[in-house]
Symmetry: C2
Subunit: 348 residues, 2 copies
Amino acid sequence: MAGDDVVRNKQVILKNYVTGGLPKESDMEVRESSILLKLPEGTRDAILLKNLYLSCDPYMRNRMKKAETSSYVDSFQTGSPIIGYGVAKVLDSTHPDFKNGDLVWGITGWEEYSLIIAPDRLFKIQHTDVPLSYYTGLLGMAGMTAYAGFYEVCSPKKGEYVYISAASGAVGQLVGQFAKLLGCYVVGSAGSKEKVELLKNKFGFDAAFNYKEEPDLDAALKRYFPDGIDIYFENVGGKMLDAVLLNMRIHGRIAACGMISQYNNEQPEAVHNLMHIVAKRVRMEGFLVGDFYHLYPKFLEMVIPCIKEGKITYVEDIAEGLESAPAALIGLFTGRNVGKQLVVLSHD
Amino acid sequence: MAGDDVVRNKQVILKNYVTGGLPKESDMEVRESSILLKLPEGTRDAILLKNLYLSCDPYMRNRMKKAETSSYVDSFQTGSPIIGYGVAKVLDSTHPDFKNGDLVWGITGWEEYSLIIAPDRLFKIQHTDVPLSYYTGLLGMAGMTAYAGFYEVCSPKKGEYVYISAASGAVGQLVGQFAKLLGCYVVGSAGSKEKVELLKNKFGFDAAFNYKEEPDLDAALKRYFPDGIDIYFENVGGKMLDAVLLNMRIHGRIAACGMISQYNNEQPEAVHNLMHIVAKRVRMEGFLVGDFYHLYPKFLEMVIPCIKEGKITYVEDIAEGLESAPAALIGLFTGRNVGKQLVVLSHD
């Protein structure tokens, strides 16, 4: 092995588990290590990746906790790089499905280079005539989440009343656009004037409101949905869910995608209005995108033409450099990001 | 009209709406009025019923409140007889579907005789070789609720782990027996030693426990379901639902039939663990039997042979006489009844 094949490899390390409250930048650390830019002899089914983009996703908060039965994901390892979705280029491969120069998206490390043995969730990128960064969101996990959640879980019908919380986020902005394409009436909520404007002017929602300016969420929903809500795409939980339950229509559906308002709470917030699930015969269904990746080719078939024809648009919030990754991740929980939050490591 | 056709008609009147807490006997009043035992000339689409059995059902608590948006039923009229399911004999009819002497079950009044115009939910009894009282429960609304809730909402599979709260009640005892017939592992909870014995020895549940003796419901469920719960048939709500959410298996289902623990609360009890719906991809679905009556013939086809072959049994708690009806109804909310609570008015 030639010594000049060893390069610096900056990594974002989880220093300690985060028990309650918002994660802090000091819970993570950017550390320099080094890596040989070639797979060691005899390493089978492995690939060496140069990471180009990293995705910041709310579910990652749950991996920063020490594992408990309630979590749907394993904990990160403290002292090791954070793991998440990203876009990367294959530098070396002994895996039959990947070869040098391939572009891939899927699970990688928060570091400049990652050596991955037996990759579990990594997809070869076929369409490169769209922005590569889209594979951290629109064409990646968030896009599949919106697609599966809306079409497979919500059972949507033309003309139905659709409400989306965290609507300008990586998933919400797409759900709204899918619902508009189907001919639904779509209202979204978000946490700033700027985001509300995006929803109305960029994503074509019928209406949008800033939930932080609504002292009475029930009253706000009644204003936007005087006849009630058929479909609620749930990204938030807590008080918002409680207000929505008061406004569901008969045989309404709630797709529970996540509950970001709850991730940093020591104790989960109370929900009081579940009796409305009986009264209105509501179906509330939790789902995880991991159960739906078999639909990925079908999803691309639908969404790539929509992107090219300008029927689907996507707003990204791009942080520059690995050093900015911890703050970008934390910003999700205070709503600092506008659109899909990602980090660019290399424009290569 | 001959004067001797006018007879006494005792009625249970709702005196006032019950806002919070348990209803009291003094919220109702047994009053004597009189009725002509013949339909008035020219009354079309009407029937005159002699009521034989009345059914006491938890949902009636919601009709004793003043109407609000949260309720799935209309309020009773104060000053008028309570309305509910019952079994009756047709004394006179100008309705094309019913004739004198027919036995019927469905919505009638809490009184000795009822004059019903354009009956909305009244079924002619075809099978009379089973106890007539069964049409207040097993072969009536409760039976259809158990059937539709279990087979249509729970999507049950052989070998699955099924948990039923309020398991010895009108609905629960049937759900458990249906689940056993399908080859599920079935555990029920109830509020007394006597009921727990019934579940195990009479209804063939695999196990049962007294929830009042369990200071930690989560721990109790973990004891009975070390591998978790596939199906929860929800009759209770509140703390029980919260504990169940901690113990659901991946892709588990919760059929929300009612939440009896909540009906007498001024404020509904908090549920904290909804995030588990996402984590475990749980489907929670509210349902009302009214959406499923088209399946009634199919239900009878399945259940009548089961009754005759002794594969389905049913425990009734029978109160004698209209005067006992208010106490029988109230007893549902303190768990005084053992099995299906009904009131017999006439053995005719």
